[in-house]
Symmetry: D4
Subunit: 225 residues, 8 copies
């Protein structure tokens, strides 16, 4: 059975086979009960499950149903279990400011769940280069980098110019006025003067983690010709 129809949704059992990772539940706009039903099915199939954008209220309901699950209130992630064998290589998550931490945590929790080893560097915005440059070696020895930044979104350009590994940039909605709820760092990252930088949606820590995990997985499995 490739998927199961629960009426209100179709649980995609085949996704891991097809795309490398099981379906992850996007919690926004789903009722707590719907999340629970999907999660139960995914748990049964994969032995682990993860939901993003879960509000505190929904989390309370879920924790009763799945007492071994853990809720992370900053990043609104509800997580049960994780991939057992961990991948070689280091996923480095760099964030520009203190206010970008919830998104950085979404990257970290998702990537760990997918089997990645992660490290984090926090609060190294470009207005204080010393803080960033004191981590130069750590930056240059990572296998993949996810760079999280709000405001003007300059950090991925600077880091992209320092490393020879892929950089995935995540703009955040942290800012005001001309920041346009994150559109400005999004557009700015897309026009980065550094090559080797690709971009995901505003606050999309999950998406960056997925992309980074697929890259690490490829590096572990090797590229055939």
């Amino acid at each position: 059975m490739k998927y199961e129809d629960l009426g209100f949704c179709k649980v995609d059992y085949d996704r891991e086979e097809r795309t490398g990772y099981p379906e992850i539940i996007y919690g926004e706009g789903k009722s707590a009960d719907h999340i629970k039903q999907i999660m139960a099915k995914l748990l049964e199939k994969h032995g682990k499950a993860l939901a993003t954008r879960v509000s505190a209220e929904k989390a309370e309901f879920l924790i009763e149903a799945f007492p071994h699950g853990v809720y992370h209130p900053d990043s609104n992630i509800f997580r049960i279990g994780q991939t057992e064998t961990s991948l070689n290589g280091k996923l480095l998550i760099v964030s520009a400011g203190t206010s970008d931490l919830p998104v950085a945590e979404e990257v970290q929790l998702t990537a760990e769940w997918m089997g990645c080893d992660t490290e984090t560097i926090q609060d190294v915005g470009v207005a204080g280069l010393d803080r960033l440059l004191s981590h130069k070696e750590q930056l240059q020895t990572a296998s993949v980098l996810v760079v999280v930044a709000g405001m003007e979104g300059a950090l991925p350009s600077v880091i992209g110019g320092l490393v020879k590994r892929p950089v995935i940039a995540v703009p955040t909605s942290v800012g005001y006025g001309a920041h346009l709820q994150g559109l400005t760092p999004l557009l700015s990252m897309l026009t980065s003067c550094a090559s080797g930088v690709s971009v995901v949606n505003i606050d999309n820590g999950f998406g960056a983690a997925s992309q980074a995990s697929l890259i690490l997985k490829l590096a572990n499995e090797g590229a055939d010709t």
Copy 2:
């Protein structure tokens, strides 16, 4: 010497060491003579050089200076030499429509120059799924995929749901009206319902090729822990 100052610009000799690939010349807004001077320096240092967004007129000037260079008028790329040892793994470049071919060619020529083996699938827009699905195996055995699409930019979402390798999406400026010179497929790719998709700027074939090459390079060199 990490860089050389030509007055009007600073040639970044250290870039290969730092970021994995030599500096590539962005030809727009530079005079033919400036391109020539930079190219001469880069050739001397790296034995190969590549310039993007070179108009036909500028190319004529360059071909006189560098008779062994080749100009590709569809993608406006001027290329001399390329990386000798080729990387394991296959970079698959998929384009949605005939009009997206120039950008797809920019991906291909850049990636080859960086040492990648490339394959291409053309004209498989989502309005005719059969054309796409008949390439299913080719899609699923690629190491990295670059997906080029204009119009509504739906192709990366569909492909992202079919493969377990990283997908880099390139929106193109092909379209009219609500297409907004490529902003619509750009935004649409960023909100893709498929995970594992990251995005580069409109028509930025060069950027997608760089990111893809870095991924293949990592896969070839292996990820250390």
Copy 3:
């Protein structure tokens, strides 16, 4: 009497004669009492009535006045009665994700009220094509299709390429960041690479149902030359 002036509004009794269906009440920005007064008049004239965008509080007030009415809290529709003779042909409502269901329900409840037979397919977003393709026959035997999608809005393009009947696309406000409250799928649907697709406003399930019903009505009454 073509319309009746209630002071704060003019009830358009002639609308059914002119446009095929009685006036439907747009509940947003009207007081519960105003909705009640208009509804009473329309009921008297047509024997059935429908109001969209009715909040739970207003619905409580209305249910007291019209105990035979039914309130649908997901889609915020308040409905009394419906067209008796049902139209030949099948209106198929397809939605991309679980979060698009409220809009899909607005389409369904409105279309039924207008005399259409409806069927629904849920949660068949393009990131899992198998789910969609397993419904291929159902898609290809529908008379008219309404396709509801948030995120990048790719579903109507894919379906438009599979069927020979008119497709009406409804973008939804489900998404975040670059999704721009639904503007992105709206624009993306308008630039669809599939022909035979037309588009209505974001979350406008009512509008899609009206258009689809008019099409079915024409098909039932036949086109004169």
Copy 4:
């Protein structure tokens, strides 16, 4: 053979079977020679062919290759042959101003090619209602209406309130300043206060014709339950 691969493109022979009409060539961004090659294949298969957005220069080249083709310089359409059996019902094309005529012609030529009987009403913008209302009967006896308007795009709302048949609105890029190259009428048509109106992309006469033809076809073939 469902499609044929010409290298630079895949000609979709199956499209008529799947979507009701043969592939139509979008001429923008394709070379004259590419258009010619695709057209030859489509002609061979279907006995008729149509290309939109063909510049005068490309048309000159095509007319040599296909002397029985006709080029329409206002709407930039190159057309060879058309569907033989014509559909019952009348497709009425209404345009708001003289400057909207090229788009109206794109609708007409495409729809005729698809087998529709068309009628046109021209220059009946809402600033002179008498002109429009003198055509009231013609409006109300049409089977499907395509309404083409630039400027503020008010015409579809007015017509949508007068007829009981589906209205497809086409915004045009005719205007200046706050008209935003057609975005303003596009958005305005999408928020129309009349129900039963759906919208296609700016200047997309071809899309409106396709949708209208599918509707007429359904009306001719009847809707099964």
Copy 5:
């Protein structure tokens, strides 16, 4: 004394002399106490006062301070007294839908306070032309017209084509999705195909009333050469 400095603001006593009408208080973003202080000064000087955008809470506070004032909760206007001698001529306020009434009321209350005779026509949106056309004579005998509309904002274009007096268009924030909080009718009114229409800001009933009153005043005082 041309103005008085209250510290937090400067009350502009000279405004009536200079611009035809006393200063009117914009209540948004001012504390109830600040409004009270300014209002007391203006009352003392002019014998009448008007504040717009006054919330219910602030109004409660003001009504205690000025028991002869009247608060209009739909339009959020707090009004004390009005110009005694009324102007010749009729200001006709036309609104498209029931939800536009609050803005129409802001026009009416402000214009009356400025000495205008007003009449209103309500709920005559263009989707039901009969309702509008049955008021044709009333429209054509008005001296000045203010037309209030949300949604696609088509009403001023239609009315502008029916009358020989100035039309002032007021877009409202009533709508959703592509309506963009009123930007769409604003832009649409600005590109009206009818001449003789000028436009004020979204929901700016006060501004339309001011402009209309100045026009009537000129008509009463006569234009000198």
Copy 6:
């Protein structure tokens, strides 16, 4: 006969009766020959005619057909004759900078043609208040004011605070960068802190002249109650 159908357009003979002024030809997007045909009809009916946005090439063609017409190359207006009896009152046209002159001329030529006496003040942008204030009396004795400004569009706000007559603001497309082809002064004029200001489309000198003429006409004919 209220209008005459020329096939490609309907000449609206009734417009003067209905809206105060004869139809004016919008030259953009019409062929020279079409303009000629419409102009001939309007001349025959009204003894005068005016076309806006006429290119130099089209003007050459028109001048041959109508040797008594005059072409104004700065404002692209082609004008034949004008209203004989001139209206009492003064229409004052104020422009902010030298580059706004073509739009100011469009206002002037149109308003004269409609029977207005005009005066102009040029180059009085707000960065040099002395220049503006030295015209204070002239400003304050005008009957109606049209204020033309590009850049940040501040002039109408300043003038609106100095006069007691209606001000019609015309933003122009003169500027660059953040000026957004005139959108910035348009939006800025709409949010003017001065009351009594209404706005027309970018570069729409014709619209401002029409509105101003209707106001003067009302002032001449008097406002009935």
Copy 7:
């Protein structure tokens, strides 16, 4: 030690040395406890501290920890101590309307904390020039001017044309509709027809104060060659 790593953030002790002023805490999106920890560190190092965008709730928490701090509820600033030696020269803060006062206060409190002497002029919007011009001498004797304005943002242009000292413009989010939450005055200030005006982000009083203080500091320390 150039910075100290608190885990969730890196306190930048070196900032004063590098950029002229100590780090200032941006309170939005930080927990009260995080603010407290950073503030304690900065106090220890610099003997003074300032946090912007501190909500009333967070302020209550902070006042307990730092009883000698002062909270300013209008501008949401929490301030402890200030620079002792005050700079020569006068920083003049001019605001257009009463609703702009909170931002003006953010400028004032920040600049004082940085050692500036400030003066303020309030409520001198351009719709009442007399109010502004009565302060002409005060304007012309200031060393640096910060001009705060919402609505159409015209005030900096007018002031920029009156003074020979640098003007820093701050758009505010005060307004509605076409004001676009401050984007309109932002864009309008950027296209100012007065030279010598530069602009900071919407509501960014802190940024304007920083720039103005750096200018005064330079003027106090003198410019070396």
Copy 8:
């Protein structure tokens, strides 16, 4: 005489007295002859003159009239003479890429004309930090900095974090796609995480030079209290 009226414009002789520098001619949208007339008047008054945005054709005309003038074709500046006494302090102009040079030259030529000593650093975009950091001392000893950048506009943030003098940021229109003709770096600079940065319009080298010169002038004349 504060200004002289040339009919088409008013030459503002008083500007130097009022704002510190003589009027500068904005050449765009003015005829060569108009520029010549204004320039002659300004030369007579001030002994020097400067025009920006002068096309090559207009320059040819001007050079005949003013043989001692110099035309700079990259930055389109026509300059005659310059301020004699030069200001103490150094204005440092830093540009991110080779394509930003024309704007950097506009800054330089304008500032020199205003009496500033300038230095330039070129091609130090953030993707190669070494190039920038090797100029650290030069950056930190400048009195005022103008930073010119296209693409993502990150350079001013990085420099703002390195220096204690005012930074004026100039976004350029160099870029493509998501760069939005310079809007992206403009918005990005406005949301800079570095304080002490203010911004001027896209490509507005003249504006940045004016602001910088006023700052240097203040530093030379000293700030009075």
